[in-house]
C-alpha cells in the first residue's frame, strides 16, 4: 500500500528530464536576452559616444571658423580701409562749427555696446540631460530605493522641527 502511494505521486523520469531541460533552456534564453540587451545598449552607447565626440570636434572646428570669419571681417572693415573708402567717396570730417544740431524729443544716445551680458543676470541652469537618461539601471535603483527615500524622510523631519528647507535650485552667477 505504502509503495503504491509513493508511486502514484512520483513523476515519470522522462517528465522530470523535460522539466530540467525546460528550466535550463529558460535560463539560457534569459541569459541570451540579457546579453542581447546589454550588447545592444552598449553598442548604441558606443555609437552615440563616437557621434558626440565627432560633434564636439565639429563644434571646435566651427568655433575656429567663427573666430576666423570675425577676424576677416575686422580686416576688411579696419579703420584704415574704411578711411580709404571714405576718402575715395570724397567724404571729409565734419567741421564742428558748421554742424547743425537738431532737437529730437525723447532721443536717447546709443550706449556703448557690451560684449556679453553682465554677471548680475541670474540664469537658472537646467541640465541638458536629466539623470534618468544618463544613470545606469543600478544607479537609478540605488537612487530610488536608498537615497531619495532618505531625502524625503529628512525633509519631513526638518519640516517637523519648523525649519524651512527650500527646494534646491542651481543658480549660476
Amino acid at each position: 500500500m505504502k509503495k503504491n502511494l509513493v508511486q502514484a505521486y512520483k513523476q515519470a523520469p522522462w517528465r522530470t528530464q523535460i522539466q530540467w531541460i525546460g528550466i535550463f533552456l529558460l535560463v539560457l534564453v534569459g541569459v541570451a536576452v540579457v546579453a542581447g540587451v546589454y550588447l545592444m545598449i552598449s553598442g548604441r552607447a558606443a555609437a552615440t559616444g563616437r557621434r558626440i565626440q565627432s560633434l564636439e570636434a565639429e563644434i571646435s572646428a566651427l568655433e575656429m571658423e567663427i573666430n576666423d570669419l570675425k577676424t576677416q571681417y575686422a580686416q576688411v572693415s579696419s579703420a584704415k580701409s574704411l578711411s580709404e573708402r571714405a576718402e575715395a567717396l570724397n567724404m571729409t570730417l565734419l567741421d564742428p562749427l558748421k554742424a547743425m544740431y537738431i532737437e529730437v524729443p525723447g532721443y536717447v544716445p546709443p550706449s556703448q555696446p557690451a560684449l556679453a551680458p553682465p554677471p548680475t543676470v541670474e540664469d537658472i541652469s537646467t541640465p541638458v540631460l536629466l539623470p534618468e537618461f544618463t544613470a545606469s539601471l543600478w544607479d537609478w535603483l540605488r537612487l530610488q530605493v536608498f537615497i531619495e527615500p532618505n531625502l524625503s524622510t529628512e525633509s519631513t523631519e526638518s519640516n517637523d522641527t519648523g525649519l524651512i528647507s527650500p527646494a534646491p535650485t542651481e543658480v549660476t552667477p
Binding site: 575656429m64 577676424t71 562749427l97 544740431y101 560684449l115
Partner: protein
C-alpha cells in the same frame, strides 16, 4: 559494472580538475609576472590619447566692440611617414604649393619611421587657408584622375594638415603701442609682450588642460571643456585712436621732430581715449621688433620714456601753491628777470623781467622766475609732498606692460641740491613720463580727484562681462584749487591768443618747452616741446597731452605742440560728439535740447 563506470568517471573528473587547476594557476602566474605588468602598462597607452588642449586666446575689442586682436585659422602641414606611399609626389606638391625645397621634403618623405627616426615631421606650422585649398584641390584631382590598367593613381597619402589658431591683429599698426604683441610663432610657450598682451597675458591665455580621450567605445566620455581665455574690451575708440595717430605722424613730419607722443585721456574716469606714439610695430610681424626699436628705444614712449617736461609742469607747482594757500590767483609777483637760488641764477625763457604780474600772468607768460619763487615759498617739504601726492615717485599702475618711471630726487638724497627745488618748480631737473603728467594734471581737470589711468574697460569671463569701475587714487588738491587753476589757465590761453585755442570751445591749457640735459649741460638748441590742455573747461570730457621731441622748425612748445593740440581737438570734439559751448551750455540751461549732429 556500476562501480567500474563510477571509478572511470571519478578518474576523468580528477584529471580534468587537475588540468583545469594547473591551467588556472598558470593563468594567475602569467598575469603576475613582471613581463605581464609591463604589457599591461604598455597597453594603457593604446586605450586612449592624452592631449594637452590650449584654450583659444582671449580677444581684444575697442570701446565700440570692434575687434583689435583675434584669432585666425592657419594650418600645420606635416608628413606622416608611416602613411606615405609616393614620396616623390608628396615632395613635388609640398614644394610647389608651400614653397619648400623639393630635395629636403623628399629626404624627409623617404625616411623610414622608427629606429631613431620620427614618425611625424612638421613642414610648415603656419600655412594659410588659400594654400590648403590648393592642396585639397590637387588631392581631389588625383582621386578623380582616370588611369590606365596597371598604372597607379598619384596620391598625397602621408601629407596631412590640421587647423590651429593664430593670433591676428586686423588693424595692423593701429594702437599697437597699447596692444603689445603675442609671440604666436611659439605655439606652446608663446607669451604676450608689452601693452595689454603683457599686462593681461595670464588671463587671456586661459588654462591649458590635459585631456584624456578613450579609444575603447565603452569608455568614451564627453571631452572636457576648455574655456577660452578672457576677452577684454578697451577704453579707447578706434576712430579717435586712428585720428590721433594720424595727427601725430603729420606733426612729426611737419615739425621735423625725432619722436612724439599724444595721449587723450578722460580725467573723470581715468580712461585712455587714445594713446599715440611713434614708431609703431605691426604686431602681425612682431619679429621686426628689434629692428624698429633698437635698444634702448622704448616700445611705448607714453608710459616708458622719461623726460624733463619744462613749463607744463608749472601747472602742478601752481596747484600746490594755490592749494597750500601760499598764493592766490590775484597774488602779485615783481619779476626782475632773475632769481638766485643756492648759488645758481634762474632766468625767464626770454631772459627778461616782466615787472609786477599776478599768478595768471605768471602762467600766461610762463615765467620761470615766478614759479621758482613760488617753489621756494612752498619750501621743499610741502613742494615734494605735493609732488608725491601727484604720483611722481612711482608708476601710475596703468594696465599696460612696460611702464617705468624716474625716481623723484628728494631733499636728503645725495644728488639733491637747493637749486633743484627752484628748477623742479618749472619742470627742469625732474624726469617724468607722459602718463605721469596726464594722471597728475587730470586731477586739476577733475575737481582735484586723481584717477587711476587704465585702458581696459571690461573683461568677459565665462560669457559674462565684468566692467571695471574708475578708481580714485588720490586727491592731491581741493576742488576749489582745481577750479581756480582751470579758470586761470582758460584766461591765460585766451589772453595769450594761443595757437592752442579751438573756436567755439573753452579750453584750459599750458605750453611746455623743456631743455635737454647733455653730458656738457643743458642745451636750448633742441628741446622737448609739450602742451597739455583740457576741455570743455566747465565740465572736462578730455585732456590732451602732446609731446614732440627735438622739433626742427621751432624750439618752443607754443609754436610746435600748441597748434598740434588745436588741430587734434578740432577733430576730437566731432568724434566725441561735443558741441560748441554756445549750444552745449544752452542745452545745460534747458533752453535747447541737443540730440545729435548732422
Amino acid at each position: 559494472m556500476r562501480t567500474t563506470n563510477w571509478n572511470r568517471f571519478f578518474i576523468i573528473c580528477v584529471l580534468a580538475s587537475v588540468i583545469a587547476g594547473v591551467a588556472g594557476i598558470q593563468l594567475i602566474r602569467i598575469q603576475n609576472i613582471e613581463g605581464a605588468k609591463q604589457i599591461l602598462a604598455d597597453s594603457e597607452a593604446y586605450q586612449g590619447i592624452n592631449r594637452m588642449i590650449y584654450p583659444e586666446r582671449g580677444s581684444i575689442y575697442d570701446s565700440d566692440g570692434r575687434l583689435l586682436a583675434g584669432n585666425e585659422v592657419v594650418y600645420e602641414v606635416g608628413l606622416d611617414l608611416q602613411a606615405i606611399q609616393q614620396p616623390e609626389t608628396v615632395a613635388s606638391v609640398a614644394s610647389s604649393v608651400l614653397g619648400l625645397d623639393y630635395s629636403r621634403v623628399l629626404g624627409y618623405a623617404q625616411m623610414t619611421p622608427g629606429n631613431g627616426n620620427p614618425y611625424f615631421i612638421v613642414l610648415d606650422g603656419f600655412v594659410s587657408k588659400d594654400k590648403i585649398a590648393q592642396l585639397e584641390s590637387i588631392k581631389e584631382d588625383y582621386a578623380n584622375r582616370s588611369t590606365k590598367r596597371g598604372e597607379g593613381r598619384p596620391n598625397l597619402l602621408g601629407l596631412v594638415w590640421t587647423a590651429n589658431n593664430k593670433r591676428s591683429y586686423p588693424e595692423g599698426t593701429l594702437a599697437s603701442n597699447m596692444l603689445g604683441f603675442y609671440s604666436f610663432l611659439d605655439r606652446t610657450d608663446g607669451i604676450g609682450y608689452f601693452g595689454v598682451e603683457e599686462a593681461y597675458d595670464d588671463l587671456m591665455a586661459g588654462e591649458p588642460k590635459q585631456v584624456y580621450s578613450a579609444i575603447d567605445p565603452n569608455l568614451l566620455t564627453s571631452l572636457e571643456e576648455v574655456p577660452p581665455g578672457v576677452t577684454v574690451q578697451l577704453t579707447f575708440n578706434r576712430e579717435i585712436q586712428a585720428m590721433t595717430e594720424k595727427k601725430l605722424d603729420e606733426a612729426i613730419e611737419w615739425s621735423g621732430a625725432e619722436n612724439g607722443t599724444i595721449i587723450v585721456y578722460n580725467p573723470e574716469t581715468g580712461e585712455i581715449i587714445a594713446m599715440a606714439t611713434a614708431p609703431r610695430l605691426d604686431p602681425n610681424e612682431y619679429w621686426n621688433y628689434s629692428e624698429l626699436f633698437p635698444n634702448p628705444k622704448p616700445f611705448n614712449s607714453a608710459i616708458s620714456s622719461t623726460y624733463e617736461p619744462g613749463s607744463v609742469f608749472k601747472v602742478l607747482t601752481m596747484a600746490a601753491g594755490l592749494d597750500s594757500g601760499v598764493v592766490t590767483a590775484t597774488t602779485t609777483f615783481n619779476d626782475t628777470g632773475s632769481l638766485n637760488v643756492g648759488g645758481a641764477t634762474i632766468y625767464n625763457w626770454n631772459m627778461g623781467g616782466w615787472g609786477e604780474v599776478d599768478m595768471t600772468g605768471c602762467m600766461q607768460h610762463s615765467l620761470n622766475v615766478c614759479l621758482a619763487w613760488l617753489g621756494m615759498e612752498l619750501g621743499p617739504d610741502r613742494f615734494y609732498s605735493y609732488m608725491k601726492s601727484f604720483g611722481f615717485d612711482r608708476n601710475t599702475g596703468i594696465d599696460l606692460g612696460g611702464e617705468s618711471h624716474w625716481p623723484l630726487k628728494l631733499p636728503g638724497d645725495g644728488l639733491w641740491y637747493e637749486v633743484d627745488l627752484a628748477t623742479n618748480s618749472f619742470g627742469q631737473g625732474i624726469s617724468v613720463t607722459p602718463i605721469q603728467m596726464v594722471t597728475a594734471i587730470g586731477a586739476i581737470a577733475n575737481d582735484g580727484k586723481m584717477m587711476a589711468p587704465h585702458v581696459v574697460k571690461a573683461m568677459v569671463i565665462d560669457g559674462k562681462q565684468y566692467n571695471i569701475d574708475p578708481v580714485v587714487v588720490g586727491t592731491p588738491v581741493s576742488a576749489e584749487t582745481a577750479h581756480t587753476l582751470t579758470t586761470m589757465l582758460v584766461n591765460s590761453l585766451e589772453n595769450e591768443a594761443s595757437n592752442a585755442l579751438v573756436e567755439g570751445y573753452s579750453l584750459a591749457g599750458k605750453t611746455g618747452t623743456g631743455e635737454i640735459a647733455t653730458p656738457l649741460g643743458y642745451t636750448n638748441s633742441s628741446t622737448n616741446t609739450s602742451f597739455v590742455g583740457w576741455g570743455p573747461a566747465d565740465d572736462p570730457e578730455f585732456l590732451v597731452y602732446v609731446w614732440l621731441e627735438k622739433p626742427e622748425i621751432s624750439i618752443w612748445g607754443s609754436e610746435v605742440a600748441a597748434p598740434v593740440f588745436s588741430d587734434l581737438v578740432s577733430d576730437l570734439v566731432v568724434l566725441m560728439n561735443i558741441p560748441p559751448d554756445s549750444i552745449r551750455l544752452a542745452d545745460k540751461l534747458g533752453t535747447s535740447s541737443i540730440a545729435g549732429t548732422e
